[in-house]
Symmetry: C2
DNA sequence: CGGAAATTTTAATGGGCATTAAAATACGGC
DNA sequence: GCCGTATTTTAATGCCCATTAAAATTTCCG
């Protein structure tokens, strides 16, 4: 039984299949909710038996946790990249939208919607909530920066951030992986979301 | 055992408690998902036993169905009211945002997020999906009208509509009924969402 | 107060699902 | 072709939950 450490060892197979598992789980969770998907559902997508999943991961709780962790990473990474490139607040926001949306529609996906946080184990829940809050605060900081530099209209950054996060978070609910829709999303979302911010 | 018909009969009590039940269920569903909430969870909110729920409704399936039906009605009604008042496409859209958001935050709520459609019985699912699709198409028609009359910028109405619906649909996920937050939502969302549409 | 209708509870029943252990199979190096 | 390890399956186990029927309680009208 290989551990997580030897991802780069002789067998990339284990790590690969584990990643496949996480993606299959995210897809199921988005369609039917965490509680609504049985491990048998996830297993079927991989051509496996439900019990086989335990070879790759500790249990269902660990599965959601890692899915949510991945989702949080995707968002945090997009915002971080957008920030380091610099520019006005509006430019950073627009770039963040593009990066996050592209990640949601790209190979990293499907990314799990964090829709059943109360179902997490307490320790996991607090971790995920902390990451989620941090991401919101950091995005609000971008908005405030834009207001200060005059690129973004004066607004309630908390509420405007919530609106934007809703639009983005909802994507995995209706986007199911076809490439042409992905293009439409990437072509429309960032522009629309940023237009509502412009001063 | 009163039927649904005598809502206005001697006992408004039955209808009232039934409405309470639907609201409690919507709250639970939004927090923990449909599959994640047991009837005991819903019952506890009302100070009842799980079995008592069956006095008011046929079962869990019927409960979600009616919650989703209510959610669909809220949205359809908001759009209909916004439409009949007339004006440019942009004005109608803005009015619709205000009405829908106010309904989500007001006494009609909590309104259930339609997040576990696959869990519905086939007949219920098709009904809800049809309503959902119709609502989307009607909103896209408003956008097209705005593009035609010049009030709304040229855009992919399908994608822009998806972005907007996401922002609105996500509200019940983080809004939990306090009045001051409701005011902030109603003051921020319609303006932000409409600003992204303006030509 | 008394009794019928309304409301709620207690007490089954059965099914689905996460989880586990042991057995079976696939697979790569020698 | 053979052996040990990796992978998967089969076969339990036990819990939680939706649902139901019957009993108990409340409500309210005469």
């Amino acid at each position: 039984m290989p551990t997580l450490d030897n991802v780069s060892s002789a067998t990339a197979a284990f790590g690969d299949k584990r990643a496949q598992l996480l993606r299959a789980a995210a897809r199921c969770f988005n369609e039917k909710g965490y509680s609504g998907t049985s491990l048998k559902d996830v297993a079927r997508l991989l051509g496996l038996t439900d019990a086989a999943i335990y070879y790759y991961i500790d249990g269902k709780q660990q599965l959601v946790y890692e899915c949510y962790l991945h989702a949080a990473d995707i968002g945090a990474h997009a915002l971080e990249c957008a920030n380091t490139a610099g520019g006005t607040g509006l430019e950073i926001a627009h770039r963040y939208f593009s990066l996050h949306v592209a990640a949601l529609c790209g190979d990293a996906g499907p990314v799990a919607i964090m829709s059943e946080i109360p179902a997490l184990l307490p320790a996991h829940r607090e971790d995920i909530l902390a990451r989620s809050r941090r991401h919101s605060r950091q995005f609000e900081a971008v908005l405030r920066r834009g207001i200060d530099d005059g690129s973004i209209i004066e607004c309630d950054v908390r509420m405007t951030g919530n609106a934007i996060m809703g639009a983005i978070n909802w994507i995995p609910k209706w986007f199911h992986g076809d490439a042409t829709t992905a293009q439409h999303i990437e072509a429309s979302f960032p522009d629309y979301l940023a237009r509502g911010l412009a001063s």
